[in-house]
């Protein structure tokens, strides 16, 4: 019972962008995929869902609880997406259809896979809105996406992804597009919900500080290759790879040492 990616390779014509990437995640486990932009993190996630962009070809093996997903027809994969594996995307501004009310979008996967009636879908939508901590849920469900803040929209996306109770959740930098305070709130909500749902999580990020809060195990990707795979604690204490050391240094610079700045500011007062 797990989601296993084995020797995944993604080619765009003659160019190989992901080489032999392997990892495994079980329900309840939390895996972080970390790397710089262009390292193939997002493509790996899209490959799991069979949603690679046109022209990309994946080979290797992706097994969902023992079933091979690679090479399955789109129609069959559509039955798996949102139901057994769901995904949260990076950009909350564009991840919702601007012409549909929140109510119609927040419980969409539940409706698609659960065959809920209209009334049940409505009830589920309200339940989800409360679950992800949207203020005035009944009111907000009647709004359109552009009437919500970025953080609220991302809460809607997270609610939608969890709505059908997927066993695995892929999250592609779900907090990167948000400002720091909102990011922290959303991360907490996300953390709690995933823990409660018992889903296996693949969390994609370029920020080791974020990864440290969410994941137990880290897979470091550089140029489409796994350069390190270790428990997050190990990565934080003694990174083995060059990229791991760089990411740690970057995280230290931005987030791990706010103390001197605070002290300086308070003495100035």
């Amino acid at each position: 019972m797990s989601l296993i990616v084995e020797n995944l390779r993604i080619d765009f014509g003659a160019r190989t962008v992901v080489h032999e990437v392997s990892f495994e995640v079980s329900p309840g486990a939390r895996l972080g995929l970390i790397g710089e932009s262009g390292s193939g993190k997002s493509l790996t996630a899209l490959a799991i869902l069979g949603l690679l962009p046109e022209g990309a070809r994946a080979s290797g093996s992706i097994r969902l609880d023992g079933e091979e997903l690679l090479g399955r027809p789109d129609r069959e994969l559509a039955g798996i997406r949102g139901d057994r594996i769901a995904m949260v995307f990076q950009e909350p501004r564009t991840a919702l259809n601007p012409l549909r009310r929140i109510e119609r979008q927040i419980a969409e996967p539940a409706r698609l896979h659960g065959r809920l009636s209209k009334a049940q879908t409505r009830a589920r939508a309200l339940e989800l809105a409360e679950l992800v901590g949207l203020p005035e849920p009944a009111e907000i469900l009647r709004r359109y996406p552009h009437e919500l803040s970025g953080g609220q929209r991302q809460r809607v996306s997270i609610a939608a992804a969890l709505s059908a109770g997927p066993r695995y959740l892929l999250a592609d930098e779900p907090t990167t597009a948000l400002d720091v305070t909102v990011q922290s709130e959303i991360l907490n909500t996300f953390d709690t919900l995933v823990r409660e749902s018992g889903s296996g999580l693949v969390f994609i990020t370029h920020d080791l500080a974020v990864l440290a809060r969410i994941a137990d195990h880290a897979v470091v990707l550089a140029d489409g290759r796994v350069v390190e795979s270790a428990p997050v604690r190990t990565l934080l204490e003694a990174p083995q790879s060059e990229l791991g050391r760089r990411l740690l240094a970057a995280a230290r610079r931005t987030a791990f040492r706010p103390a001197p700045i605070t002290r300086e500011e308070s003495t100035n007062d």
Partner: protein, 335 residues
């Protein structure tokens, strides 16, 4: 605001809507009643000047011109609706082929559209009329082809843009099938563009019918039609020059009406007004900036780990709540 109410506040759009409403109404009324029998000839009342009984006067065979125009609106409406349907179906079919298929089919269809668009509608109609003789069906088919290609040209990139949107990827990740994508995402998002195109297409159809009937390829001899009437009255321009003005003016006003309606619909459904990113920048600049958010915005300090002592912590939820309550008002303001 409701798009229909916005249209009524748009002067050109309102004018267009009225013209179209009058046209449809007169076509419906003419089915049961016209002031005089439009095809009844009476040599005793040839070339009567306009009076209350004959508002536009009579023609060389004593037919009431006003009744002919009212009855002729049936052909106009039929051609407009028929062509819009035909052009819409053909256009969407071509656009879907050019947007949803494999790459080489898609590119091929795009080239085909570019080639077909070079053929003037009138030429297509004359080719068809040469083969099958003139009829209203020929007019409708010709306009459907001629304008359908136009619609395909305009909607194909719209469909591509919707398919490339993040929300479609997100919807696919939710497990929605191709048909669901079309029904819930593509069609609603291209509908405004399509409606505007169709109203312009109707104007072209009306003009084409008038032109083709004028040339003798359109409506059959016993069917009242504006184009046919114009061509008949024009023969007598030396005898009764004023009479030609009536069908000419009616055609002009109707075509203008459809064009203005199209413009009005385009303005009230302007995508920039519904653009989530554009509309969001407005409340963002007006929203009160909380100290916590301001601290978070500077890149070298992190408000997340430790709050600076002198700053009152503001919960992010309060910031979020403030920006929602801001949104609807600013929205109203921008419209």
């Amino acid at each position: 605001m409701n798009p229909l109410r916005k249209l009524f506040r748009h002067p050109a759009g309102l004018f267009g809507a009225i013209v179209v409403a009058v046209l449809v109404l007169s076509a419906l009324v003419s089915l049961v009643w016209t002031p005089h029998d439009p095809v009844f000839t009476d040599s005793a009342r040839r070339w009567l000047a306009p009076t209350w009984a004959y508002p536009f006067g009579t023609d060389n065979s004593g037919r009431d011109i006003f009744s002919l125009i009212v009855a002729g609106s049936r052909v106009t409406v039929l051609v407009a609706v028929g062509s819009a349907l035909g052009a819409g179906i053909l256009g969407l079919l071509l656009a879907s082929l050019g947007a949803l298929t494999r790459r080489w089919v898609r590119e091929g269809v795009a080239v085909l559209i570019d080639v077909l668009i070079a053929f003037p509608t009138l030429l297509i109609a004359m080719l068809l009329a040469a083969a099958w003789g003139g009829s209203l069906l020929v007019v409708i088919v010709a306009v459907s082809i001629g304008f359908g290609v136009n619609i395909a040209r305009v909607t194909r990139p719209e469909i591509r843009a919707v398919l490339a949107a993040d929300y479609v990827l997100a919807a696919r990740a939710s497990g929605i099938g191709s048909l669901g994508i079309l029904r819930r995402h593509v069609i609603p998002n291209i509908l405004p563009v399509l409606i505007v195109q169709l109203s312009w297409g109707m104007a072209i159809a009306i003009l084409a019918e008038a032109g083709l009937s004028y040339l003798g390829y359109g409506a059959p001899a016993d069917t009242p039609s504006w184009g046919r009437l114009l061509s008949e009255l024009q023969t007598y321009i030396g005898i009764q020059p004023l009479s030609v003005l009536w069908p000419g003016a009616v055609i002009t006003i109707t075509v203008l009406g459809f064009n203005l309606l199209g413009d009005g619909l385009r303005d009230v459904t302007d995508p920039t007004l519904a653009d989530p990113i554009l509309s969001e920048t407005v409340p963002a600049s007006n929203a009160p900036v909380s100290p916590a958010a301001a601290a978070g915005a500077t890149s070298d300090s992190s408000a997340r780990e430790t709050e600076p002592a002198h700053i009152t912590p503001v919960s992010p939820d309060a910031t979020e709540a403030a920006s929602i309550s801001e949104t609807p008002e600013t929205q109203e303001g921008t419209r």
